[in-house]
């Protein structure tokens, strides 16, 4: 079975601060990794994804994430956050489970950016 851990439940930052949200996963095989974002009152949207190749992936709105296979981690980063980044961020892993890929989400990290 696959699982995802997000260690920070709530992060509060001031604008222009740097951001790093932790994500660790547990799965014995090949995985695809994702970060989704949910702005207040909205649905989940894909922020970035890693399938293969360069372990440093860049997503929308200046976000990036680094896949470190040896650490089973896929941390999300942004050099300088904005007030509009206030949202909940979900890490997700997709591994082959049974007869189809299943996307498993972490518990989410609520990011609050203070103006």
């Amino acid at each position: 079975a696959q699982s995802v851990s997000q260690h920070n439940h709530h992060v509060i930052l001031s604008e222009a601060a740097s951001l790093e949200l932790g994500c660790n996963y547990s799965y014995g095989g090949t995985v695809n990794l994702f970060w989704y974002v949910q702005y207040p009152g909205q649905h989940l949207q894909l922020l970035l994804k890693y399938f293969s190749g360069d372990p440093l992936v860049k997503g929308i709105k200046g976000f990036e994430a680094e896949f470190i296979k040896s650490k089973f981690s896929f941390n999300l980063r942004k050099p300088s956050v904005q007030w509009s980044d206030t949202a909940e961020y979900f890490c997700a892993v997709s591994g082959l489970s049974g007869s189809a890929r299943q996307l498993t989400f972490g518990s989410g990290t609520q990011l609050t950016v203070l103006p």
Binding site: N32, F34, Y36, Q42, H43, L44, Q45, L46, K49, F51, F90, A92, S94, L96, S97, G98, S99, A100, R101, Q102, L103, T104, F105, G106, S107, G108
Partner: protein, 114 residues
């Protein structure tokens, strides 16, 4: 702009009533997922389908929940009878069968059971 469509967006009902939520996946996607989101439990996978066949509904309370895909353009999630603890936002998501796992989410159906 292709998107997943869910109805109703908001539903308030009384305990014991039947609730049906509907989802229209993106055309061409053949995997469909139902998730439930609550403050306490976060995002929980309830059921998922591939090519309209249910592959896993282990996350769903079997005695009151049922999920179906009567055709490729419609997925339904039914609760009968509903209970206050079912109050949550229910998201439908669809994805292409490319084995990548990327999903596209609908806007969600917010259910309140009084």
């Amino acid at each position: 702009d292709a998107r997943v469509t869910q109805t109703p967006r908001d539903k308030v009902t009384e305990m014991g009533q039947e609730v049906t939520m509907r989802c229209q996946p993106i055309l061409g996607h053949n995997t469909v997922f139902w998730y439930r989101q609550t403050m306490m439990q976060g995002l929980e996978l309830l059921a998922y389908f591939r090519n309209r066949a249910p592959l896993d509904d282990s996350g769903m309370p079997k005695d009151r929940f049922s999920a179906e895909m009567p055709d490729a353009t419609l997925a339904t999630l039914k609760i009968q009878p509903s209970e206050p603890r079912d109050s949550a936002v229910y998201f439908c998501a669809s994805g292409p069968d490319s084995l990548t796992g990327e999903l596209f989410f609908g806007e969600g159906s917010r259910l309140t059971v009084l």
